[in-house]
Symmetry: C2
Subunit: 107 residues, 2 copies
DNA sequence: AACACATACCTTGCAATACAAGATAGTGAG
DNA sequence: CTCACTATCTTGTATTGCAAGGTATGTGTT
């Protein structure tokens, strides 16, 4: 069992939360996740996820020039994305409660 | 995004925790998870998982007669399973911290 | 100019795993 | 006998994180 399995269905919610705080681009999000304590999330994970979320209408993007390097694709939340973020949080808190109930209770 | 994706890599740890508390069979674990607040976990999910964990030496099993129905396969933890449970808990608490940091901080 | 390096994005193919759907079987109640 | 409940297992599918690799831009060094 690896860490990576536990990220499934959680990473997208975390990205939504990061984007919700401020307009952001993929490369930056990877660094951001590291700072929050996550194991390094590969870009091959993040970019397809962002594209999927855009396809689903959860985020929108704009290209902007960078001072150092190629153009950046900045993402921001749509209202649908905001709603999805809320639902993710609800699901997460519920999962958190259930898992903690199982692994902490009794003994 | 569904609940089921969030269960990946978490369900096995929860099963280990349940088995750790008392010797237990699959059908019973499904009911147990419901009581802990999880959405219904299908048996097609649980049985393959238990077989995998046995193959990996995390749990062992014995068949016992039931008073009402076919034989039950009771599982218990091996020492390797106990160790895996400890590692799962560590991973879980770390994930919990990181996710909460992302979705709660600021704003 | 030529080169290394960091930044920044994307694609392909793979592995892990939860689930739906269904098969099989024993027991007891009506 | 039929139905419902208990109990286990199998097959096929969808999702998704990741490794590995490719493309391209800008900066600094030699």
């Amino acid at each position: 069992m690896s860490q990576t399995q536990m990220m499934k269905g959680i990473l997208d919610g975390c990205l939504l939360a990061i984007i919700a705080r401020k307009e952001c681009y993929g490369y930056e999000m990877a660094e951001s996740l590291s700072e929050y304590g996550f194991d390094t999330i590969s870009e091959g994970t993040i970019y397809p996820l962002l594209m999927r979320m855009q396809r689903e209408g959860l985020v929108s993007s704009v290209l902007r020039n960078s001072t150092a390097g190629p153009k950046r694709k900045y993402y921001s939340l749509t209202s649908k994305g905001q709603q999805e973020l809320n639902e993710f949080q609800t699901r997460w808190f519920q999962l958190e409660n259930c898992v903690n109930a199982v692994i902490k209770e009794g003994n």
